[in-house]
């Protein structure tokens, strides 16, 4: 009874819409509404645009996500030490979170435009102009943008995780002549495993949200390497192809479930002795 309001809310705003999506993915069109079962899924799986989008999204996620986790962990480890200007560095890395997306996109456009600042700088060294956003280098730009935006927050999460590691364990390790690397790998990483899982999942989710920046930079139909799954879904919605959209959304959510499930299993294995 006490759970009823939450359950009702979850049902109305999550479960029910998802069931509508499943329904739409199994009919031929909203007018005649004949059940075609998995035909839409087969069409989507064969669709060239979907395959390209899926490939780009996975490629981006599996490059950007590990980088976001590793770099932010290293930053956190560095800022956990007593270095000069520690709090200034912390503020510096947190600042990108406060900048509105549109401003970030504007800056990136100015920097990476064909006639932008980066090309101007490179031309001083005799390097020819590169069309950063409309070539195979485009993903490099977006990964840079993603890391710049997200490192700060991940770093804060890791800093909090590092603070929660029992100090006596670290002292004992130091007394036992363990070096920095051994302490980091055998103690800190083990204790940080739930945080690492959380940051990884968050980074994975954020890697999908990067569509917002790409859309503002390049519109509905960007260059090959920037075309993501959300472009596909956005555009199929605009062209009234709800069946394709629904099928693609379900395929994407199934992949997400598999990836996150795998992450949970890894965490369970790695952090087992910590919990014990």
């Amino acid at each position: 009874m006490f759970l009823a309001p939450s359950l009702i809310g979850v049902f109305l705003f999550f479960i029910l819409p998802f069931m509508v999506v499943i329904y739409y993915s199994m009919v031929d069109n909203p007018i005649s509404a004949n059940f075609v079962w998995f035909k839409n899924f087969a069409n989507v799986a064969k669709n060239g645009a979907f395959k390209l989008a899926g490939k780009n999204t996975l490629k981006f996620s599996f490059v950007a996500m590990p980088l976001a986790v590793i770099l932010s962990l290293l930053l956190a480890a560095m800022l956990d030490r007593k270095i000069p200007f520690r709090s200034q560095f912390r503020t510096f890395f947190l600042t990108p979170m406060m900048v509105p997306v549109a401003s970030v996109v504007l800056i990136v456009q100015v920097m990476f435009h064909y006639n932008g600042a980066v090309n101007h700088f490179l031309s001083a060294f005799g390097v020819g102009k590169i069309d950063w956003i409309k070539s195979d280098y485009a993903q490099v730009v977006v990964i840079f943008l993603f890391l710049w935006k997200n490192l700060g927050y991940n770093m804060i999460l890791f800093l909090a995780g590092l603070e929660s590691i029992p100090k006596d364990l670290l002292e004992v390790a130091m007394l036992e002549n363990a070096n920095g690397w051994q302490i980091f790998w055998n103690i800190k990483i083990r204790y940080l495993s739930p945080t690492i899982l959380f940051v990884t999942i968050l980074s994975l989710i954020n890697s999908f949200k990067v569509f917002r920046e790409i859309y503002l930079l390049t519109g509905d139909y960007p260059y090959d390497s920037l075309y993501m799954l959300q472009h596909f879904m956005n555009n199929t919605f605009k062209s009234l192809d709800y069946q394709k959209l629904s099928a693609a959304a379900i395929i994407m959510s199934l992949v997400m479930i598999v990836i996150i499930g795998a992450l949970f299993l890894v965490e369970k294995y790695v952090g087992k002795d910590v919990e014990e």
Binding site: F11, I15, L16, M19, V20, I22, Y23, Y24, V27, D28, N29, P30, I31, S32, A33, N47, G48, A49, L52, Y114, N115, K129, D131, K134, D220, Y221, P222, Y223, D224, Y227, F232, N235, T236, K238, S239, L240, D241, Y242
Partner: protein
């Protein structure tokens, strides 16, 4: 065990509930639209006010007061087709007895003057706003003339020194206040004068004034457009402080506000009527004027009763002249007696002639009625308008929809459109229609959309250059351009125009929409870019005249849309004897492309397909009074059009010599050409062009957007054709792959 059973049952309940609710996605074949289920509808009633006007008479100004319609009628005096002048008389039409009293005196104004406003004063005098137009200087001089009931001049106020200069010298509107003062509206200024003409106050506005109105307490409000901010703003004018304050936030653009006797505020635009809520600053849509058989609403003298009934006088024009009607609009409950089958038509813009056709259909067809849902009345943002219209059409809430290049393919893919071939075959003989045009509009053998009229995209060119060419390929285009590099080549010789002409029409050379394939990395596309690069960014000079360029032989080709005999005659005059027509590069037919002027589609889910088809038939069949907007699809109407166009009208001039009557003038900055009628040669050429056309004009806006965006660096000389083509290929390929 018990817990597992409860868990299982809960999951089953959720799944069953979810499945049963999701089944609402399928619409029952007998379901009606949400709007048709409404218990009330606004209905209009018209009563003609017959002032006995003939074809030489027109209404200049009017005001209804105490059951009498006071009207100033302009009588154009003609003798043997010669214009002798105009006379203005006052009519007093009793709305109850229908008797019309015409003054035996004429209004004493100068020649070339007209009366734009009339105010019946409480003391029985009449205030008239007179515009004396000087045909030599093209200037207008305004004055307010006050007459007694016997036509004697009581007072004259010269307004020529009151207005400003430039845009603020032309008097756009006049408002008469209850206290006898008068407010003059200029383009961005209001001036208040007393009854003796002395200036009481002057307020300059930041915005360009679009609409203005006085409320019942003589407060002046206006809606204006700020050129700097690009925004519309409603404001109240305060003559005492000389300033304007923001007012009526949330009004639709161009709306005027009216207070009803029911204490509510209403807002009206030329297209729709709203209920305005001052507290929430929102306007609730009530109806589109078209749905109460009013083409467009410009009258600001609405009277709203306590029960919300609306009264006003409506002027409308057709070929027979002006018609004045007293209109009453009431909100009425739907009953079996007054119910008709409603055909919901979705659009975001309606042509004037379609509006007239809808009104004509609604008034004459007792079984069906077209109810217009114009999404521009409901949403400000264009993207939202289109999205909502698409959603409503796919949901089956619209029966008829305006079809354009953007939505057609999406609707076909979603299986929303009815095949119109069976309807055409049932109600027409194919030989009575331009069947090749209908076939060109088919997709996979089905006619998903139809238009009552069409035009032909073709290329006009110099005969001595094009000789016997039937089609113009891209390599021909580039070769010609290189040969005539010293000439303008096009009438508007800029890179943008060249790109537009080259791609807008010939895009299917690079894009196969049917198979979702494209190839821009080819010699033809590089030729297009090279062709475009031979033109300048801007026109040669500020006083450049494209028509002069054609006459001087500097224009080699002119891609154009032919939708009238006038167009071919006029351009034929420009090119002189040196004109010929060639088609675009296509695999079959003569290369001339058929363009649907206004296409419609019927929803495959509609319950009133017959009603929608009845309306489309009324468009196709037309009437004798119709104005031809493009070539009619019905051959009998096409032949009527030829007969009308070939009839040369004449008149006798002041020297007694018979002269040809011009049917219209076409002009540029330096050239004026008159059209007197179509020649047999012209008619035969156009008819051949139509008969030989087998392809329809189609283009994809999105693809064009991508190309125009990516070609910019090439036009600026920063990228090569190959680099640009590679990016376009990548982006367009994705776009096409999505639709596969």
């Amino acid at each position: 065990m018990k817990n597992n059973l409860i868990k299982g049952l809960s999951i089953l309940a959720i799944v069953l509930l979810g499945v049963s609710i999701t089944a609402c996605g399928k619409t029952d074949s007998n379901s009606k639209t949400a709007e048709s289920g409404e218990p009330y509808e606004y209905r209009s009633y018209f009563e003609t006010i017959d002032l006995g006007l003939n074809e030489n008479q027109g209404l200049s100004a009017k005001e209804s007061k105490n059951g009498i319609l006071f009207a100033i009628v302009n009588d154009v005096l003609m003798e043997n087709d010669t214009y002798l002048g105009s006379e203005f008389r006052l009519h007093k039409f009793n709305e109850s007895t229908k008797e019309d009293e015409i003054s035996d005196w004429t209004i004493p104004i100068e020649e070339d003057s007209y009366i734009s406003a009339l105010k019946v004063n409480d003391d029985g005098t009449y205030s008239l706003v007179v515009n004396a137009y000087d045909p030599d200087t093209f200037e207008s001089r305004f004055q307010i003339l006050v007459l007694t009931d016997s036509g004697e001049e009581k007072n004259t106020i010269d307004l020529s020194k009151i207005g400003g200069t430039g845009d603020n010298s032309y008097l756009a509107d006049t408002f008469f206040c209850k206290d006898g003062s008068i407010i003059l509206q200029y383009d961005s200024m209001f001036v208040k004068i007393s009854s003796d003409g002395s200036v009481v106050g002057k307020v300059e506005t930041v915005e360009w004034i679009n609409t203005a109105f006085l409320d019942s307490e003589d407060n002046l409000f206006y809606g204006g457009y700020n050129m700097e901010t690009g925004k519309n703003q409603n404001s109240r004018v305060d003559f005492e402080t000389g300033k304007c304050e923001p007012a009526f936030e949330g009004l639709p653009e161009g709306a005027s506000v009216f207070g009803g006797k029911d204490g509510k505020l209403y807002a009206s635009t030329s297209e729709a009527f709203y209920l305005y809520n001052e507290e929430t600053k929102t306007s609730d849509y009530l109806f589109n004027w078209l749905n109460v058989d009013i083409s467009s609403m410009y009258d600001l003298n609405l009277e709203i009763e306590e029960d919300g009934t609306i009264h006003f006088l409506n002027e409308s024009w057709n070929e027979k002249g002006m018609k004045l009607e007293a209109v009453t609009i009431r909100k009425e409950k739907n009953t079996e007696e007054n119910k008709v089958e409603t055909v919901y038509y979705g659009c975001n813009y309606i042509d004037y002639d379609v509006k007239e056709k809808i009104i004509e259909f609604n008034k004459s067809n007792g079984k069906y009625r077209i109810n217009v849902k114009s999404y521009s009345d409901l949403f400000e943002d264009y993207e939202t308008q289109i999205s909502q219209m698409n959603l409503d059409f796919t949901d089956g809430k619209l029966d008829l929809v305006a079809i354009d290049q953007d939505n057609r393919n999406a609707y076909i893919k979603a299986d929303c459109l009815e095949d119109l071939n069976p309807y055409v075959d049932r109600d027409y003989n194919r030989s009575d229609l331009f069947d090749n045009v209908l076939k060109a509009w088919e997709t996979d053998g089905k006619l998903y959309s139809i238009s009552d009229s069409f035009g032909i995209y073709t290329i006009m060119g110099r005969k001595d250059v094009l000789k016997d060419m039937k089609h113009l390929s891209y390599s021909d285009l580039l070769s010609l351009r290189n040969q005539y590099i010293d000439k303008d080549f096009l009438s508007y010789p800029t890179k943008d125009t060249a790109l537009y002409y080259a791609l807008y029409i010939g895009l299917d050379q690079f894009v196969d929409l049917k198979n979702s394939e494209c190839n821009f990395e080819c010699e033809d596309f590089y030729n297009v870019l090279k062709f475009v690069s031979t033109f300048k960014d801007e026109i040669p000079s500020e006083d450049y005249d494209g028509w002069e360029s054609i006459q001087n032989g500097n224009v080699i080709i002119e891609p154009m849309l032919i939708d009238s005999f006038q167009a071919t005659e006029i351009y034929g005059q420009l090119f002189g004897d040196q004109v010929t027509f060639v088609g675009y590069p296509v695999s079959e037919g003569n290369g001339n492309l058929i363009y649907a002027r206004k296409a419609f589609g019927i929803s495959s889910k509609s319950n009133v397909k017959e009603g929608a088809w009845e309306f489309l038939k009324s468009l196709i069949n037309g009437t004798e009074e119709d104005y031809y907007d493009g070539f009619p699809i019905l051959k009998s109407r096409y032949n009527d059009m030829i007969e009308k166009e070939m009839t040369v009208e004449t008149y006798i001039d002041e020297n007694g010599v018979e002269q040809k009557q011009s049917k219209g003038g076409w002009g540029s900055a330096n050239i004026m050409l008159e059209y007197y009628g179509a020649t047999q040669e012209n008619v035969d050429m156009v008819t051949d062009m139509i008969s030989g056309a087998t392809n329809s004009f189609s283009f994809d806006n999105k693809i064009m957007e991508i190309i125009i965006e990516e070609v910019e660096p090439f036009m600026a000389g920063q990228k090569s054709p190959e680099e640009v083509a590679k990016i376009i290929q990548s982006r367009v390929k994705i776009y096409l792959a999505e639709t596969k």
